[in-house]
């Protein structure tokens, strides 16, 4: 007999099958992923998790008999009361005698839970999407810079003196110009001192003295270090890409916003969060809700606590502005904002909102998305022309001026994802070049 320990074998033997299965069930998984994301809180939205797949989608058919019709036998254990010839009313749901004959391997028709890793989840979620080109523009203009060494220069501050390089230059210059070396002079002096000035060595000594003066003059004319030799370490600045982003969720929570609308908004925020999270290391979320006044709140309050009051959109923009000024300097943060509203605004506020948006908010934002949420099935009597909402009209004008802003209307859950995809779909390369 052999005993083999297989526990040490590489795991993940099934990976290839899993990938094939994922490819096969891709559309189903994508749909499930996207439905399951609605039930999670925004910050958890991109964690690994389970999704339920409808069993039918990845069905493996085989010939088998149908569950009803014809004559069939049942053989059952545990008889307590029946005798031959008894009749039993047909149980609801087909199979006789309460026996669930079932399919042989217990393969039911239930959905089955399928656990996805975080990467798989996000990959499916964000297939073919990318941040708008604006992000690139922003990166180029970013004011935060990092310094990188970039060779040597002839000018610079003393602190950046490149000593080795300077001395090397000086040495090569001295060699080239034949500047006398100090030990050479020293030797000459010694020789002169050793010769008797009055004797037959006199002329020789004179000759040497002359040479010494010539050399001394030469070494004073050719400096040990010349300004020509001096080199400084050179640095160049590179703009530093900002690796953090903050996402502002602005929402109207006045009485006219129904639960359904809030749900739509939440789904959109979740998508945006996951998307930003993928791109930036660090994503903050700020929730600002407003009625006729606005305040910054936590997520739970944001979605769940009811508020009453009028609707003044500019208050929310003001709060956002102050939060930006306080905590999120546009230099070091990429700022994204998503506003959800049913489109109501106090008429007198529209102008203020527009100017706030154009003058203070949009200049600091990478992207501003406005989502107008509607009722699930809005019916208007025939002949009644639906008027665009106040906000919609206001924002349309801003949008046309080419601001980094997008706006969409959403009426049903199923539209959220398409709308999101539309907003962030990969642009053609040409449009990218224009903005860059």
């Amino acid at each position: 007999m052999h005993i083999v320990d297989r526990r040490l074998n590489p795991s993940g033997k099934n990976l290839a099958n899993r990938q094939r299965f994922m490819r096969r069930a891709k559309s189903l998984i994508r749909k499930a992923v996207h439905e399951s994301s609605a039930s999670r809180s925004i910050k958890d939205a991109d964690q690994a998790g389970e999704v339920a797949l409808p069993a039918q989608g990845v069905h493996e058919p085989a010939f088998h008999r149908s569950a009803s019709g014809g004559i069939r036998d049942h053989l059952l254990p545990g008889n307590k009361q029946y005798i031959e010839g008894d009749t039993i009313p047909r149980p609801q749901g087909g199979a006789g005698g309460g026996g669930s004959e079932g399919s042989p391997d217990g393969e039911g028709q239930d959905d089955f839970r399928f656990a996805l890793s975080r990467d798989e989840f996000v990959d499916l979620f964000l297939e073919d999407l990318e941040l708008p080109d604006l992000a690139k523009r922003r990166v180029v203009n970013a004011e935060a810079v990092t310094w990188h060494r970039a060779g040597y220069s002839v000018t610079g501050s003393p602190a950046n003196l490149a000593l080795m390089r300077t001395v090397r230059n000086s040495l090569s210059r001295r060699i080239a110009l034949k500047r006398p070396k100090p030990d050479e002079l020293e030797r000459l002096r010694d020789e002169i001192a050793a010769l008797n000035p009055d004797g037959e060595e006199g002329p020789r000594r004179l000759e040497l003295e002359e040479e010494l003066t010539r050399k001394l003059r030469r070494s004073s004319v050719i400096p040990y270090i010349d300004p020509l030799d001096v080199r400084y370490r050179n640095f160049e600045s590179h703009p530093k890409p900002v690796a953090q982003a903050v996402m502002f969720c602005l929402m109207d929570v006045s009485g006219s916003m129904t639960e359904h609308m809030k749900d739509l908004a939440k789904r959109f925020y979740v998508l945006l969060y996951i998307f930003l999270k993928r791109r930036y290391k660090n994503v903050d979320v700020v929730f600002v809700r407003h009625t006729h006044q606005a305040q910054e709140v936590d997520e739970d309050t944001f979605f769940n606590s009811p508020e009453t009051g009028g609707t003044v959109v500019s208050t929310a923009l003001e709060v956002m502005q102050s939060v930006v000024a306080e905590r999120y300097s546009p230099d070091s943060w990429n700022i994204y904002a998503a506003q959800a509203s049913d489109g109501d605004n106090t008429a007198s506020d529209n102008e203020k909102t527009a100017s706030l948006l154009v003058n203070t908010i949009l200049p600091v934002c990478q992207y501003y998305a406005y989502l107008e949420v509607g009722r699930d099935s809005e019916h208007f009597p025939p002949g009644f022309i639906r008027r665009d909402s106040d906000l919609w009209q206001t924002y349309t004008a801003i949008c046309k001026s080419g601001a980094p802003m997008a706006m969409r209307k959403v009426g049903h859950r199923r539209d959220i994802y398409p709308v999101f995809r539309e907003l962030f779909a990969k642009k053609q390369a040409t449009t990218g070049a224009e903005t860059a």
Binding site: A25, A62, F63, R72, G78, N79, E84, G98, S100, R113
Partner: protein, 526 residues
Amino acid sequence: MNDMGGVGSGIRVERPLFEGADWDFTTVQRVHDAIEQIAIGEMGLDVYPNQIEVIGTEQMLDAYSSIGMPLFYKHWSFGKHFARNEAMYRAGMQGLAYEIVINSNPCICYIMEENTATMQTLVIAHAAFGHNHFFKNNYLFKQWTDADGILDYLEFARGYIAHCEERYGEVAVERLLDAAHALMSHGVHRYPRPRTADLRSEELRVRARREHEEQVFNDLWRTLPAKSTEKSDPTAEDRRRALLQLPQENLLYFLEKTAPRLLPWQREILRIVRIIAQYFYPQSQTKVMNEGCATYTHYKIMNRLHEKGLLTDGNMVEFLRSHTNVVFQPGFDDPRYSGINPYALGFAMMRDIERICTEPTAEDQQWFPAIAGAADPMAVLRDVWANYRDESFILQFLSPRLIREFGLFHVLDDANESTLRVEAIHDERGYRKIQRALAQHYDIAWTLPDIQVVDVNLAGDRRLIVHHRALNRVLLEERDTRFVLQHLADLWGYDVLMKEIDPETDSVLKEHAATPRSGVLQPDSA
């Protein structure tokens, strides 16, 4: 504790093999050797050499998803099964099997690292000796499977399919496998083909025939008037069918050999799927017997180990608890009921046969005269394990006493009647009926729909005609049938027509048709 499991006579001379729950490889080796002594020496089992492999949870799930085989080709459906099993296991809805055993030579037996020492002992007795003996000796396995070659064949299959994926694309291979898997249940030969006789046996046969003719020679036969020979010339249609070996119930075989538009690599993959289906064919026919044999073996062995003092009382209790769970049969009205438990039925029948041999009652004498009071129950059991399959086994050995114990009854459900009727219960009139009805449940000809290729005109429109002989007028499940026929049409490359036929009246109950999708499997002609 001493009276447990028929103990009492055993004098404890040996030290227990282990105490507590922990085990290591030397324990496994010791346990195996002790069991081997009992299994081979006392019970007379005949097994392939064992190879015991210790695996972890994930590997067990792996094995689950590839029908227990250690190496298998890649297909999405295995990924699906893995995902489902894993999810169920993580949710605690399903425990994992303690072992998986593979009908190969050497016999590979996977044991889980999580098992306690007692469970490992049980598993080795159950799988490495019980199943192993059955695999090696049962006639169906001998006839249909090649234990020596299966691992090599799977290795080849995996390599070949991977090669095809590389060469023809994963999608093309996947579609082909989808279609082949859909037809897998109808890709087996049910009856052994006659082996081509070699010269020697042919000679013997000819001689025997001649001797027989000489013995019964009678000149009078010559004087009888000759029968009119009208049925001499078979029609062209009959000839055509004979050439194609029609009717043919092995759909995959038929497609592999005759489908006009398949490429050679596609035929080879069909062959691979067919051969694997064939390999599993005996297992589906011997569930009750196979499990019964293994369960009986482990029960016997564990009790002997305990008797010899090799197993402590505590470990014995742990074993009995697990054993009782395995052979539990809930009644039909119990919420836990999900069909007849093959472990329960198989084990009960094996024990019953032992009882009939050792303590036969008058009833047994009447029902089983051949084995009642036999001297060596193990010899009887070994003979049973070698020569029966579920259907014949139940028909032969389901005793009235067991029918009473299980409270088996037979209910007839005719869709034309408003109520169900109890046909038979455990009484004198019912025993035979119940035996027959239960045996039928395990007869593969009854459980699988009978589907055959009956005709195709290769010179004409090439439409494939398939018949389903609807036993008891039970039709095929419509939705699945549509899918499978679509796959069949894709493989065949031309239209397929399926007729569901009432075998009693030969009338057509229902028809399904399918047209191949262009470019799915066949190279697109357009």
